[in-house]
């Protein structure tokens, strides 16, 4: 197993506001990795730094073994075709139909025929569990759950190796959320994906996440499998995992 992501000693400051003071984490190939933390703990900022939307004040991030600071323009372009980012609210292009949303990357980065692109779009919709008639619709005509699935289909258009998910189950009903979890595991198994997600969903963490990190007090206060994390006595871990309600559910861990 090789490392897909390595985050080393990340420090982030916005003006005088400290967000991260030395964050470290490593994500292995083919695992589902979760980042957890209170709101304002810098989870989303970390995700943005890993996807090169923001630059950390100092520290290094290695993706597929390469430091993202030192990448040439061509390498950045290649990297961006090898990852997919699923945004919290889908971020589908509202002026394009679902079909064109998914086909956009294929049209831009490959020279496949229209026919083939058409088939690929169908296959992706099938994979995320959407009916094919959806492709002629526009994002505003879809429900929240369908938007998540459709944007996952867009994220998967180029079959990326690495997937970043920002709160994938937020805004979904419990049944839909479990369905989405199952979908993510299946896709990981079939497509050899490595998945990094930000989530607050305890069921997701319990059911599908292999390892996780807890962000609090500007750094990682606990990491490893759920079992490892539960050994920590950090106040956030105590508060988040060890209340009465959860004790019953986590006994099996």
């Amino acid at each position: 197993m090789s490392q897909v992501i390595k985050v080393e000693n990340i420090i982030t400051k916005f003006g005088s506001k400290l967000v991260h003071s030395g964050v470290n984490l490593e994500v292995e190939q083919n695992e589902i990795y979760a980042v957890l933390g209170e709101s304002g703990s810098g989870k989303s900022v970390l995700l943005k730094e890993m996807t090169m939307l923001l630059k950390p004040t100092s520290g290094d991030i290695y993706l597929f073994g390469k430091n993202i600071r030192d990448l040439s323009r061509a390498e950045v372009a290649e990297l961006k075709q090898n990852w997919g980012v699923l945004f919290q609210f889908g971020a589908l292009f509202t002026s394009l139909s679902i079909e064109n949303n998914i086909a956009l990357l294929l049209k831009e980065y490959t020279r496949l025929s229209k026919k083939m692109i058409h088939y690929i779009v169908d296959a992706k919709l099938e994979m995320v569990g959407l009916d094919r008639s959806v492709k002629y619709l526009y994002p505003h005509e879809l429900s929240g759950g369908m938007i998540k699935r459709a944007s996952l289909a867009r994220t998967l258009a180029l079959d990326p190796k690495l997937l970043f998910l920002d709160e994938p189950t937020s805004g979904l009903d419990p049944v839909g959320a479990r369905g989405f979890d199952e979908l993510i595991v299946n896709l990981r198994d079939i497509l050899d994906l490595t998945i990094v997600m930000i989530t607050h969903d305890l069921d997701t963490i319990h059911n599908i996440v292999d390892r996780l990190s807890i962000l609090a007090d500007h750094k990682v206060v606990a990491s490893g499998t759920l079992h490892d994390v539960l050994q920590s006595h950090h106040p956030f871990v105590e508060k988040f995992f060890k209340n009465e309600y959860l004790n019953k559910r986590l006994k099996s861990v």
Binding site: T94, S95, S113, M116, I120, E126, M127, E141, L158, D189
Partner: protein, 367 residues
């Protein structure tokens, strides 16, 4: 990277397709088109994947296309994951055969366009009616009137527009006077420049210039503001709190512009005439005193009043069209741009139509 592709070996009993290299979405485009011309004439084939380094969904999809013309297909040397992937893709391909979806044809499209423009007229009239009823309700319950919002819009759409309106009106005044002088001098009648330019400015040009500038500034901003609020569901939020968007957003904007536009027209008249005076002095050396003296003689009060009276009507059209298009914004970001363009174009067009009507009516009435 290793070269990717496939080669076919045919024997008497069956054909074997040897695939090699990376079969990823970014690599298969080189040989994708040749796959469509493969024809195995309904025989059994084997597909050997032992040399394939990578296979993704698009690659698997292409494999199923190779198999299309064959009677049966056996995959050789494939890993468990590849097997699973191909299985899923085969399922999705099988479903495609059964599902058919219609797309809109040309005639259909044309009739759709036609009926949607009819619908537009209907919506426009319905909105006018709604505004009328809401205004009457407002008169019976005046405490619903939002005084603060109205004042705010007088500030943003009226007072803030003074510099640009002043500049435009001044330049139009200069141009009108300058061009008229050139013609009138031929007849030795240059003093009539005062008559023509001041009457034209007070009666037609002042109101028109002002209305067009305000339409460009305010109709667009009304549409964009309200449209963005609709997009972010702020309008729905207001409704659930029991605030009527009509009283909060629509009526204050209309009232504000109805109050501000006549005042702006007055300002634009003054600056326009100043422009004409400056141009006249520069061209034929007519002094400001004589110019103003002449204005007293030739510019009847009625011309000025007609210009001002048009103001509230133009203002109503501009604000109404702006707000109407703002509320028409649908759930996609592109429609804000579309509606904003529409609102400016329609506002200017309707202002000109209205002005033409006034022109005919006043002339017929002998005013």
């Amino acid at each position: 990277m290793k070269e990717s592709g496939y080669r076919v070996e045919k024997s008497s009993r069956k054909s074997t397709v040897y695939c090699y290299g990376s079969w990823r979405v970014t690599t298969i485009d080189k040989f994708e088109k040749s796959v469509y011309s493969l024809d195995f004439k309904n025989r059994d084939i084997e597909i050997d994947l032992s040399q394939v380094s990578e296979l993704d969904t698009s690659g698997a999809l292409l494999l199923t296309m190779i198999a299309k013309s064959a009677k049966s297909v056996t995959y050789l040397n494939l890993s468990k994951k590849q097997d699973k992937l191909i299985h899923i893709i085969e399922e999705s391909v099988a479903q495609r055969a059964t599902a058919q979806y219609k797309r809109r044809g040309q005639i259909d499209h044309l009739s759709f366009k036609f009926f949607s423009s009819l619908l537009y007229v209907k919506e426009f009239i319905a909105f006018l009616g709604e505004l009328f009823i809401k205004s009457i309700r407002l008169i019976t319950k005046p405490k619903n009137f939002r005084f603060k919002e109205s004042v705010y819009f007088i500030q943003t759409s009226g007072i803030n527009a003074l510099p640009i309106i002043g500049m435009t009106a001044f330049l139009v005044g200069v141009v009108i006077a300058y061009q008229t002088i050139v013609q009138l001098t031929k007849f030795g009648a240059d003093i009539f420049v005062v008559d023509t330019s001041t009457i034209a400015i007070a009666r037609e040009l002042g109101p028109m210039i002002t209305a067009i500038v305000v339409a460009g500034r305010s109709a667009s901003s009304y549409t964009a503001e309200i449209g963005a609020m609709k997009l972010t569901e702020e309008l729905d939020a207001m409704k659930t709190m029991g605030f009527m968007p009509f009283y909060f957003l629509v009526i204050p904007r209309i009232i504000a512009l109805v109050i501000a536009l006549p005042l702006l027209i007055f300002f634009s008249d003054m600056v326009g005439i100043l422009g004409a005076m400056v141009a006249t002095k520069a061209q034929i050396g007519l002094s400001f005193e004589i110019f103003i003296q002449r204005i007293y003689e030739v510019l009847a009060l009625k011309h000025y009043i007609i210009g001002i009276v048009k103001g509230p009507f133009f203002a109503f059209i501009i604000a109404f069209v702006g707000v109407f298009h703002g509320l028409k914004v649908s759930q996609d970001t592109e429609s804000i741009g579309k509606e904003t363009t529409q609102s400016v174009v329609n506002a200017i067009f309707l202002v000109i139509v209205c002005d033409a009507l006034f022109s005919v009516v006043f002339t017929e009435l002998g005013i």
